[in-house]
Subunit: 441 residues, 2 copies
């Protein structure tokens, strides 16, 4: 290609058609489709009950916080510790001590830009391409996609109604050790497991922790939904139990305000001991998490968190009951779906949260319903996306109920059943009967 | 190691001392030091004038926005397009059309979590390890560190008082092409260049664009400081000029509210055409940028942005004049520093922004003053961190003045001069005299 160093603007420029895609890195995710609006029956996403957002309280908190500290916005991190706004970390330390038996100071809290950033930071800290990570056999799809993008080999841990089965975990780690593939991390959601809604009892937590100790593995405890428990008493965090021992850094913990206050606020938090915290802080190179959102959360939550969350749990519990009723009506033993599929759909009885997890008869692949459901205004998470082993998850489905009205839950589940009945062919690819080890009351 | 699959809690656990660091990925940045508070004379960081933060206006905007749309916070992205809050994208499209001659619709705007996320997304889209990226020889240190972490080879483009020298850029790309190392990207800050404060004239922008076209390279235009111009008229963005041609995707553009409103708000923005925008959206997997901050910016800026920024520019212009006075007094030809170093320190005359760029006599390494200055409560950016070629940058220094009072600017610069005089040894590692191609009025 000819160049002219005296006048680069001259007309001998090579004007071959420019294709910017040829300049992009290889291996990118595909282009995002154009946004076409949300569907009416959106049973996906960690969305919440809109009337429960404490709008007035947040507005009042914003005014107070801005009037008190607003000029500090002129400085990154409000001129404060990059771990986050002090009063918010103090609230969190007190809250976690009270609710999760986690006796920490605010210096052990890192405020992050949503718990997704916590996942990113933990992966970046611990996981190199080729590393093995253990995750619950059904787990948060956003973590699975992140782990895979990081080049991790994800191995499933068996679940039952109480979460990870410790004996099976121990055996799994033994096998992996024999293969020279001891995992770096165990990723667990022990409190309101996503998607099964189980809560791991304290005795089970100790056993899982002991297994991690035996094999020298770090636990990443994702407690995002823990504030939304409506059945039973919240057990101590695994991170709390780990502090009874002496192995500093064994458990990295994260939580979020997305489920307790609102997901469009991008504020989550992590708890880690110094050798890990210092790395997380070094890796969090985003110049801080949004300060106004931190300030208004600190102001609002210090006064109202407990009352707000109590009321929210009641609302979500009612929605969950409606969802289970609707599933029973439209997917239960006497339903047209059961007739068509050769058996009923089983549904979890979550102890909290915003979703149920359905197990269809063997041979069903719920992903096949995605497109016909979307054309009827219905979205759901196909089980494969929420499962380490996609084939194991194929006949499963997650339905979120947080953001729909009780009327729309009934109507949407009925419409989904119609979609399935009218689209279903004879079952293919039969699996062994039964519902595996998942909670299927 | 013995295992017992029946009872993992039994006492034969291997309690070798646990070192969590042994589980971490290799190549991590070092641990962050404990935070010890900010220094009084903090001449670093893109911090702004605290009294200029429009606290009352932001509080009012927060109340209006929350009362109007607050319950939408229950849904990720407010249930809206993942590109960001509609009214904010509409404000930005109108603002960029008016101020940067960039005729776009709101569908071409992506709101991001601070412009650092824009840098991350562009790097992820275009840069693979080993790729060559051209950056201005003095440039934003945070971009340099990100590019290096991504495995890019960063090559410097020569600057003069009007920004990138097009003929030199053309020659550089020719040489790189001959070596089979044609860059993916040219990273430029054409409007209030960081750190030199220059503004690239429109004719120069066309020449640089033509060079990028000739060699088939993408331009990443970082316009973060463009709202803070106080000398001259803001030229059209390079992204605007590119639209006169037909090469879709040639220029990716970013800006920020950090400099115009407040840096602790984590809201920036990008402009890109569809083939690039669709990739940026796919890679932005953070579940959205903080919605409250987007809402209050949309509300505040629609009514007050132009007036606010006009006043802020005046304030910053006065601080800049104070900084240049102080540098002239304490580092100029008759100063003790000049006597000690064998010549005066040259300082830029920025056309906007919040920093000046100093060039010390040959042989000086400003990094040597970091520790003694810190012990006197003074922080500055050593030139090497803001330079593609660290050796070239060693005798340079960036001083930010946005967040200090005029009194503290004078006092801090005087104190820095004292530190230098009392710590300076005879110059070592002499460089050729002169100040290179940088603006040194």
């Amino acid at each position: 290609m000819a160049t002219n160093q005296d006048d680069p603007a001259q007309d001998d420029l090579a004007h071959a058609p420019f294709d910017v895609r040829s300049k992009m890195a290889s291996g990118l995710p595909g282009p995002a489709p154009a946004w076409t609006g949300s569907l009416r029956f959106s049973f996906v996403g960690g969305n919440n009950d809109a009337p429960s957002v404490p709008v007035g309280g947040l507005a009042e908190a914003a005014v107070h916080a801005l009037n008190r500290h607003g000029s500090a916005l002129a400085t990154y991190n409000l001129g404060d510790n990059p771990q986050g706004y002090g009063p918010l970390r103090e609230f969190l330390a007190a809250q976690l001590a009270a609710e999760a038996s986690l006796p920490i100071g605010s210096h052990e809290v890192l405020v992050v830009s949503g718990s997704l950033q916590a996942l990113d930071l933990v992966i970046e800290t611990f996981v190199a391409p080729g590393d093995v990570v253990v995750a619950e056999q059904a787990t948060y799809g956003g973590m699975l996609s992140r782990l895979r993008r990081a080049g991790a080999a994800v191995v499933p841990a068996e679940l039952d109604d109480d979460g990870i089965v410790p004996q099976a975990l121990d055996a799994l780690l033994g096998r992996l050790a024999d293969e020279g593939r001891l995992p770096k991390l165990i990723y667990t959601i022990p409190t309101v497991q996503n998607p099964t809604g189980s809560v791991m009892p304290v005795e089970r937590r100790r056993l899982v922790l002991d297994v991690a100790r035996r094999w020298g593995v770090v636990i990443f405890e994702d407690d995002c939904y823990a504030d939304l428990m409506w059945q039973g008493v919240r057990p101590p965090a695994i991170a709390a139990l780990a502090r009874e021992g002496s192995d500093v850094g064994r458990v990295v913990y994260c939580g979020s305000f997305s489920k307790s206050i609102a997901p469009a606020l991008r504020v989550g938090f992590m708890v880690a001991e110094p050798p890990v915290m210092s790395r997380l802080v070094a890796l969090k190179d985003d110049a801080g998490t949004g300060a106004v959102e931190q300030m208004l959360l600190a102001e609002y939550c210090s006064a109202h968190f407990v009352d707000h969350v109590r009321e929210l749990r009641n609302t979500l519990g009612s929605k969950c009951a409606a969802m289970r009723d609707a599933v029973d009506t439209h997917f239960g033993a006497r339903s047209a779906v059961a007739g068509k599929l050769g058996g009923p759909v089983q549904v979890t009885d979550p102890k909290g949260g915003i979703f149920v997890w359905l197990t269809f008869p063997a041979g069903v692949d719920t992903a096949r319903y995605l497109a016909p459901a979307a054309s009827r205004g219905i979205q759901f998470n196909e089980g494969a996306a929420w499962s380490v082993d996609r084939a194991w998850g194929a006949r499963r489905m997650r339905l979120c109920f947080g953001s729909l009205s009780i009327e729309d839950i009934h109507e949407g589940v009925a419409a989904l059943a119609q979609v399935i009945v009218s689209n279903e062919q004879a079952p293919t690819d039969p699996e062994p009967p039964g519902c595996g080890s998942l909670s299927c009351p």
